[in-house]
Symmetry: C2
Subunit: 466 residues, 2 copies
């Protein structure tokens, strides 16, 4: 076990404020900052102002709330360590919609502690992880009046809707955001029982489509059998998106997919992962996916096409003998290098048109921008620092893993600022983010603070080759 390089005064200050900081975190979680819900505009504003107020209290300067076409961005900086490296801290204060509400054990916006976990929408993704570095910077400035590195904070409110305003902002404000690397408080560890750090994420492209038959809902007795039912057409169309072998059947979908390097396949196989234990954890009857790959490879290193929603006709209680006029579906594809998000989306749209069943029309919408996959190089100093800081807190060597999800900001920071992103989140992948009963393990709040305190002190040494 490595000793922490964080100043003792800082660690003491963090201990002293733990309860008060948790109370503040719970206040933050109570704000229903759902970026996808257009009725939550005022709550999104409250979320941004809350974050800005905490950054000001922490002692940062230049705290600003920036309006965008959708939801505000918050920035802050402390540049009092000339010659030291600069870290851009990234996170997001927006959360996923809470539906289905009836599946929550406690109300989604009321942080409720059970068994050492706090249950609430956003507890894990991303409010607890992104609040940690604010409290660590506050402890440094309060305890010793300075930070070992320069820091810039960039917290957005559109991560759950594809970050449409982030790239334009980053491009425009490159000078304000100048740093050596991005340290992302969003991301999440693979396991609760072993620290991990993540070197790759999958990209994303999303679309929604509608099939229309008749101009209005019809009586299924009177009209059934004579005109196309958009629900049947939807089933045929969706069924044609995959082959029996679990592969995506869209022509050209795999054209730009790089093979998984042998070393990565071997490292992944060496990880302690067991299909049976995984299925027990998620309560599923079987694994299922593309032939020729393990479950982890399917989730981290292979692209997918998944329906996130599909609906049409009568969905209420009892029966209603309707032949509906419309059917709808929402689709996301997870991408790997070197797939281009727009190219993949175009291929999917072409396939939908090419395989459209008779008697219906197709309309495709694409509301969120795509994101390419991302991979960090193995010897990046920010990654080496993360590995060392995790060893300090957890006493073991962390595993370096891939990630199935998407963090589109990696590509944005690379493209407009030339900066790599290191993931340093203390959420865990089993915390039901994007689902009912999302939770965050309270112990990770203190662990995360210790790790961030160590990271900020250790980074200058690693970058100096120490």
């Amino acid at each position: 076990m490595t000793a922490s390089v964080a100043p003792a005064e800082v660690l003491t200050a963090l201990d002293a404020t733990l309860d008060a900081d948790l109370a503040t975190l719970f206040e933050f979680i109570r704000i229903p900052s759902v970026s996808a819900d257009s009725r939550r505009g005022a709550d999104m504003r409250r979320g941004a102002e809350f974050v800005a107020a905490r950054l000001r209290e922490a002692g940062l300067s230049d705290v600003e709330v920036h309006d965008t076409e959708r939801h505000p961005l918050v920035t802050a900086a402390w540049r009092g360590a000339p010659g030291a490296p600069t870290v851009l801290v990234y996170g997001h204060y927006d959360v996923q919609p809470p539906e289905p509400l009836e599946r929550w054990t406690s109300p989604p916006y009321e942080p409720t502690v059970r068994d050492g976990r706090v249950y609430a929408r956003g507890a894990s993704d991303d409010k607890s992880p992104m609040f940690i570095p604010i409290t660590v910077v506050a402890a440094y400035l309060r305890a010793i009046g300075r930070l070992p590195v320069n820091v810039v904070f960039l917290y957005e409110g559109e991560e759950e809707i594809g970050s449409p305003s982030l790239a334009p902002f980053v491009k425009r404000e490159a000078e304000r955001l100048r740093a050596d690397l991005v340290l992302s408080a969003d991301g999440g560890m693979w396991r609760a029982d072993h620290p991990t750090t993540m070197i790759s994420t999958r990209g994303l492209t999303a679309l929604e489509f509608t099939l229309r038959g008749a101009a209005k809902d019809l009586h299924s007795g009177r009209h059934g059998g004579g005109v196309a039912n958009p629900l049947h057409a939807m089933a045929r169309l969706v069924a044609g998106l995959h082959g029996d072998d679990g592969r995506v059947a869209v022509p050209g979908f795999y054209d730009d997919v790089r093979p998984i390097p042998d070393a990565l396949r071997e490292a992944t196989r060496a990880l302690p992962f067991d299909d049976a234990a995984y299925l027990a954890e998620i309560g599923a009857p079987a694994t299922f996916g593309e032939v020729g790959f393990s479950t982890l490879e399917r989730q981290w290193n292979r692209p997918t096409l998944e329906l996130n929603g599909m609906w049409g006709g009568y969905t209420g209680e009892g029966s209603k003998t309707v032949l509906p006029s419309e059917a709808h579906a929402k689709v996301t594809c997870r991408l790997v290098a070197d797939q281009d998000p727009d190219d993949v989306r175009d291929k999917v749209v072409r396939h939908l048109h090419a395989t459209l069943p008779p008697g219906v029309t197709l309309e495709v919408r694409s509301e969120r921008p795509g994101a390419a996959a991302y991979r960090l190089r193995d010897d990046h100093p920010g990654l080496l620092t993360a590995v060392a800081s995790l060893r300090t807190v957890y006493g073991v060597d962390p595993w370096v893993i891939g990630m199935g999800g998407s963090v589109p900001i990696c590509e944005t920071f690379q493209r407009y600022l030339g900066m790599d992103t290191v993931f340093f989140s203390f959420a865990v992948g089993d915390e039901d983010i994007h689902a009912p009963n999302e939770f965050f393990r309270l112990a990770r709040f203190a662990e995360g603070r210790s790790a961030w305190a160590d990271y900020l002190a250790r980074l200058p040494r690693v970058m100096a080759g120490g």
Copy 2:
């Protein structure tokens, strides 16, 4: 044109009360008697009591509201014409759910007159048609103190949910309901521009099923590609219910289907029906269905399997990258002679199990009882009377047609009372029943009253061979 055989005093009385009776009908329509919605129990009770009060005002005796396990039945009688035939008048006061609410131009329970039509849920199915005979009996008893036939009224509140209480009630109360034939105010004419009477209906069997993957919704990035997505499985399963030729692919589905008699095929072909005009009416791009049959044959004389609803995952605004735990579907099959509803449902369930995609489990529910198809014989005196009464009112020979929908009560009355059912409704098939903006043509209210007045006076003559 045949002259009406109804007494002139009765026709005068009907003219005099037209406006007042329409106002009462609108009051009736304002009661949101949705039988499928368990929150509408009190409104269903109000609907039944409203019907009972109007029957009492009409001068009928033995008016009773009968409790059932779900919604009340209303009965009434007038048996003051010994030796004359007895007619059992059937209808229903329950209505379909109004969803989707946002598609209504005026509120569903506020009868709104536009262009000679009253728009409201239940206006066509079945409140206006079933209210007509009450007003006709009232006019007879007020104007001349008697009816030409004996009448029994049987109005139920469960037609839209499969009439679960009707058969037990009919069986138990056979003596109370004793009559020569059933005259159904439910049904509906084929066209607005030509009178029709209907000699066949399709049967019905319904089921609902759920596919389950993981025990909870998962993040589609983290887990996507590794476990089955119930929406994909649903699409494959539903796509496998039909062949490319539009035929139902369930093994044995057509085993008991009687071929369409040549005479019926010819009569149907002789009807003035044009696919292009039909498509323009419903706003659909093309006809679609079982190969080898015309649109009308598909809708009247061939069985179908239709999805009435299909849903799962996120269906709200924006995107939510969820891999849902469940997918749902509601299915109804329309049946023709000699298909047995339970047998067909069993075959569908077996097929669902046999073709279940990997990685999900299947649960099937069947909440409403099935109904067999029905056919009235061509020379039935009740049918001949209907033809003559329609000729009286409309001045042309009505077409005798089939019906794609189901009126399960036909089989119930046949089985337990040995009685045939004659359809005598003044709704029209284009009135968007079971859909937003349901309407009823106001002129048909007066026409229907004239026709019912004629029918009650004419039936004894036809039955006497006159």
